[in-house]
């Protein structure tokens, strides 16, 4: 099977294989993502109110410490082996919140600790989350430069 003929057969085969795909349960997936994502945001809101009313924080300090607390919770649940269970249930609902970012930093760090503290834990720490920092810095700086010259 060579050339054109082969490409044809491949397309047929891939279409045939795709016909076995179970239908995505859009409603169930989305509902779970909405529920868990919303819940995590509510935890964030709760922490925010506590810091604001009880400790009297405000502004950047308040926003920063809310993030730090959520990241702590995300890494803790990852370490305890709970976050991947939540992720299996919630899909995007646990990936998109900042706790999901914490999970994607923490899980490779835990996983690759066996390869050493430098080339394992530290080097692999941003294997999943690194792109967020890279493109975040690129895009953020681009926005800053655009505002500077406008």
């Amino acid at each position: 099977m060579t050339g054109k003929n082969r490409e044809n057969y491949n397309k047929n085969y891939i279409a045939y294989v795709n016909s076995f795909d179970p239908p995505t349960q859009h409603f169930k997936n989305c509902f779970r993502a909405f529920l868990v994502g919303g819940f995590i945001c509510c935890i964030g809101q709760f922490i925010r109110i506590v810091y604001e009313k009880v400790f009297g924080l405000y502004g950047d300090e308040l926003a920063g410490l809310v993030s730090v607390t959520l990241i702590f919770l995300g890494t803790l649940l990852t370490g305890l082996g709970v976050y991947d269970r939540i992720g299996r249930y919630a899909g995007a609902g646990s990936i998109v919140p900042i706790t999901g970012f914490a999970n994607s930093v923490c899980s490779p760090a835990i996983e690759f600790k066996t390869e050493g503290l430098v080339y394992g834990l530290a080097a692999k720490m941003f294997v999943v989350a690194g792109p967020i920092i890279v493109y975040g810095v690129l895009a953020g700086t681009a926005v800053g430069l655009i505002y500077l010259f406008l």
Partner: protein, 333 residues
């Protein structure tokens, strides 16, 4: 001709198997030599655990044959990890030559066929063929860190934690053991599947290719075999294989069984069943070989399938080339 025939009838004298905790709960649990309750097997890393399981399977196969290390002439082994470290590190524990092979999940059939060829030719008297895999080490090499919260797609399979080995020997005219009578080495087949989670669909065409060539070379029909055992196509892959062979006029429906499909009791998070080199090594050497030894099955075609991808190739958007090797195991009647 893709098929080679072993006229001197190299015999499978003994098998050695070890299963992880999840696998022990399934059908193979009652047949394996050792079941683990802890998949770390007392080691500090998953790679070391996999290596230790493979060592156990090799040693147990030798022991079950009533032999000692000095009697064995050659070890043929491979596994899924980069540079087949489990196999070569396991070979470090033994005092005989080692031949490393790689056929991804088809390693069991490949090493058995190569071993049988050496024994048949008379170069070696006793050869051990073994392979194994570990869920956690495969997961972190091929997919994501274990603790990352991702969803498993429904086409995915679950890498089997376990290892199995066989001791192939030239037993002369002795009739008491099942013999390896023929082997068909497969061609690399690629139908353009790129989804790394859909291994069954990627491997089914390779399996069909070697199966049809084997039947053509031997002049046999599918029903001439008591059982056709495929490696780790999983539930979806098996269904595709049946469709593909049916299209070519071969009906394997009545006597086909897939190791990946039967290795776990409950198909829940495993979705399509088991996979990995350990899957066919475990199911075939523990469960199917037991049936052959009891003469409940007398002629079995064992086709192990493997997906020859790496994280680099799939990262570069390559499709998944696959391979399958077939081995015939017969009781002399």
């Amino acid at each position: 001709m893709q098929t080679i025939f072993f006229n001197n009838k190299p015999k499978i004298v003994a098998t050695g198997t070890i299963a992880g905790p999840k696998e022990s709960a399934g059908v193979v649990g009652r047949y394996v030599d050792k079941t683990l309750t802890d998949d770390m097997y007392g080691e500090t890393t998953y790679e070391k655990a996999e290596c230790k399981m493979l060592s156990y399977a090799i040693a147990q196969a030798i022991q079950n044959a009533g032999l000692t290390e000095q009697d064995v002439d050659l070890l043929i082994s491979g596994d899924l990890l980069n540079q087949i470290i489990s196999a070569s590190f396991a070979a470090r524990d033994f005092d005989f030559p080692f031949l490393g092979v790689y056929g991804a999940c088809s390693t069991m059939a490949e090493s058995m066929a190569v071993g049988a060829a050496f024994v048949n030719a008379g170069y070696h008297k006793k050869v051990v063929a073994a392979t194994g895999s570990h869920f956690s080490s495969a997961e972190r090499q091929y997919r994501y860190p274990l603790e990352l919260g991702t969803t498993r797609p429904p086409q995915s399979q679950w890498t089997v934690t376990g290892a199995g080995g066989v001791l192939i020997a030239d037993m002369g005219a002795s009739n008491g053991y099942p013999a390896i009578t023929a082997a068909t080495f497969g061609r690399v087949v690629d139908y353009g599947i790129t989804d790394v989670n859909n291994m069954g669909a990627a491997m089914a065409p390779a399996c069909m290719d070697v199966l049809l060539n084997h039947l053509r070379d031997t002049g046999r029909k599918a029903r001439d075999y008591d059982l056709i055992v495929t490696g780790d196509l999983g539930a979806l892959g098996s269904r595709i294989l049946k469709d593909l062979t049916w299209e070519k006029g071969v009906d394997i429906q009545p006597n086909h069984v897939d190791c990946g499909e039967i290795v776990y009791n409950v198909i829940e998070d495993e979705f399509q069943g088991g996979s990995g080199a350990g899957c066919s090594a475990l199911v075939f050497n523990a469960y199917i070989m037991d049936k052959i030894k009891k003469r409940e099955l007398n002629r079995v075609l064992f086709v192990a399938t493997g997906a020859l991808l790496s994280t680099v190739s799939s990262g570069q958007g390559e499709s998944i080339p696959c391979i399958a090797h077939a081995v015939v195991i017969e009781n002399e009647v």
